[in-house]
Amino acid sequence: METTFYIAGAVAVIATILVIMSYNLIHALLYLVVSFLAVAVVFFTLGATFMAALEVIIYAGAIVVLIIFVIMMLNLTYEDVQQERSWMKPSVWIGPSILSFVLLAELVYMVVATEAPQTTGAAIDAKAVGLALYGPYMLGVQLCGILLMAGIVGAYHLGRQKKKVVHRFLERSAAS
């Protein structure tokens, strides 16, 4: 189990690095899926099987697909990849990387330096989660509903195009 955890973790990290470094959006998204899948494996090793499934279904599935849809709508081309490449100059990424590294170092230091109370991890099955979710966290679930409602209404309002604009857009995409 431990080995699986470490391997999956390594895969997740590498895949994420590749997400960061790739210039092509679609490639990046594919790596992202890999990363999510690896994380799902990590969940599995931690005993959160239900969450592993959710990770695959919603993150790797729904969200990424949503993004891909949008990318398709935007009709990105090779020029965009070139542009992406031109944006990724060392001068751009060195500073933030150093900052992040500092922050990571601090985080690592803190995590390692802490003597966390020793308890053994235990698998939490879907039933326990479900009981808790519809027990004490009942209200939370309802709030989630409201959250989604806000998201939907917002996305609906913002995403709605003026007819004319949509029309022109279609025209142009047809022409190209």
């Binding site: 803190m110 802490t114 308890t119 209200l139 409201i146 998201g151 209404v153 917002g154 309002h157």
Partner: protein, 486 residues
């Protein structure tokens, strides 16, 4: 969940109900006025239901929420402000957007998020409340889709808010990892015995501060404020400045006092630095600003710094001072943005300093209201802002936070400079107006001006006779169980 729980959640239920009503009505018949009325009514009803709560001690709905005096006060504040904003919004959106109905829906949801924030006692409810607030806000900020600035503000806010939410979440995870619980009270119990906090926990707190600090718009997490304030429609800006920040403040106080963070010098130091940096940065940034909305954004950074002074006082007086200050600040901010909304035309908001040239002679009453608001921000007597600032200083002096108090004083002076700069612009010789506000229907105009006048009177009322409000605050806060005041 039992009937009593429902009763205590009545304000939230009413808001949800209002939102759903709105949605239904929109799907049947888009009508601005009806939606507006429903919205206002649901705010009003939610506010009214607060009186039915009759809080005796704290009523807790384990593990997520608690309804106590503090919660009632902050909810009331949030709801009233939202009501006022919705009233001002009507005039603003009437002329601008062909689809104005969703705005009210989002406004209600957003307010609901803020309400959840102030009554939450658990990381989960904190997070959910915050996100409801944020997600609704993304759409609200970018609501006027045709304005580039509106979109820009929206995307900036979205990315940054999600970014900071990630920090908040990671922090919460660390705290959870360290203590094994996500309830405020349990966290407090877990660390109660410790004289020194474990590093993991501190890191968690530290990362949570990032998230909280972002919402409050304090230095160094302030950079979104001016852009979002400028980009958002004036009523939404008012909403961000008041409801969103107020909700966060309420949460911060509840959490921090519950875990008694004042015991830990690290946290106090961090907040002290943030407070001082916010005051100076905000005020200095505002100094030569020509855009009134941006200027108010910068000034809000400074005001959050002021609030932190009272917050850091960490005593009962501090909490009361924060509450009082918020009331005054809310009235003032809503009033100021209300004026901006009133003066705006169809294309852009009246946000350039030059738009206010000679306002005192062109529209004396509007100008007078605005002057009152600015003076309140500057903390000049006869306005609530003065009493609020006084209270904050008093709280700070009581705990002998001399450094903070002196910074506050210095900054009040810097702040004064740009507030009176606006006033000075207003009494310059009248010129041809560069921005001609949309002619409102007389009834709407009267209603809006009436609202603003009411706000002004309220502001002066609490400035001249703060006793009643103080009384209210202290009675309401009595039920708020504070672990340990210094």
């Amino acid at each position: 969940m039992n009937a009593n729980d429902f009763l205590h959640l009545m304000p939230l239920l009413i808001l949800t109900f209002g939102a759903i009503m709105n949605m239904l009505v929109i799907s049947v018949w888009r009508n601005h006025k009806i939606i507006y009325v429903i919205t206002a009514m649901s705010f009003l009803a939610a506010f009214g239901s607060l009186f039915e709560l009759q809080v005796q001690g704290a009523y807790s709905i384990d593990p997520l929420l608690v309804i106590d005096g503090f919660a009632v006060f902050y909810m009331g504040l949030v709801l009233l402000t939202a009501l006022l904003i919705s009233m001002l919004s009507y005039a603003y959106f009437e002329q601008r957007e062909e689809r104005k109905e969703e705005y009210y829906l989002l406004l209600i949801l957003s307010t609901l998020g803020a309400c959840v924030l102030v009554i939450s006692t658990h990381f989960a409810s904190l997070f959910l409340g915050l996100e409801i607030l944020s997600v609704a806000l993304y759409a609200l900020i970018a609501y006027l889709r045709k304005r580039e600035r509106s979109d820009e503000g929206g995307i900036k806010y979205l990315i940054l808010a999600a970014f900071s939410s990630a920090f908040l979440l990671f922090g919460m995870a660390l705290v959870y990892a360290s203590t094994g619980t996500m309830e405020f009270a349990a966290v407090a119990i877990a660390i109660a015995g410790l004289t020194e906090l474990p590093l993991l926990l501190l890191t968690g707190f530290g990362m949570m501060i990032v998230g909280v600090g972002f919402k409050l718009g304090v230095v160094p997490f302030h950079m979104w404020t001016p852009d979002v304030y400028e980009g958002a429609p004036a009523p939404v800006t008012a909403f961000i400045a008041t409801v969103s920040k107020g909700g966060m403040i309420g949460l911060l106080i509840r959490f921090f006092i519950e875990v008694d963070g004042f015991r830990y010098p690290v946290l106090v130091l961090i907040f002290t630095i943030i407070a001082i940096a916010s005051m100076f940065t905000g005020n200095l940034l505002a100094l030569q600003q020509q855009n009134v909305k941006r200027l108010l954004a910068y000034s809000s950074i400074a005001h959050m710094g002021y609030l932190l002074v009272a917050f850091l006082a960490g005593n009962e007086m501090g909490v009361q001072a924060v509450s009082f200050y918020l009331v005054a600040y809310f009235i003032t901010t809503v009033g100021a943005f209300g004026i901006i909304a009133m003066l705006s035309d169809k294309v852009r908001d009246a946000e350039q300093l030059s738009d206010f040239k000679g306002l005192l002679w062109r529209r004396p009453w509007t100008a007078t209201i605005f002057i009152a608001m600015l003076l309140s921000l500057a903390g000049i007597p006869l306005t609530g802002g003065f009493v609020g600032k006084f209270y904050i200083l008093a709280a700070g002096v009581r705990t002998e936070l001399w450094l903070l108090a002196v910074s506050l004083v210095i900054n009040s002076v810097i702040g004064l400079y740009y507030y009176i700069k606006i006033i000075a612009v207003m009494f310059q010789p009248a010129e041809e107006a560069t921005i001609i506000p949309y002619k409102l229907q007389p009834s709407i105009y009267v209603a809006s001006m009436g609202t603003l006048t009411l706000l002004t009177l309220l502001l002066i009322g609490i400035g001249v006779y703060p006793t009643a409000l103080l009384q209210l605050i202290s009675t309401v806060l009595e039920t708020f169980q504070v672990v340990a005041y210094r």
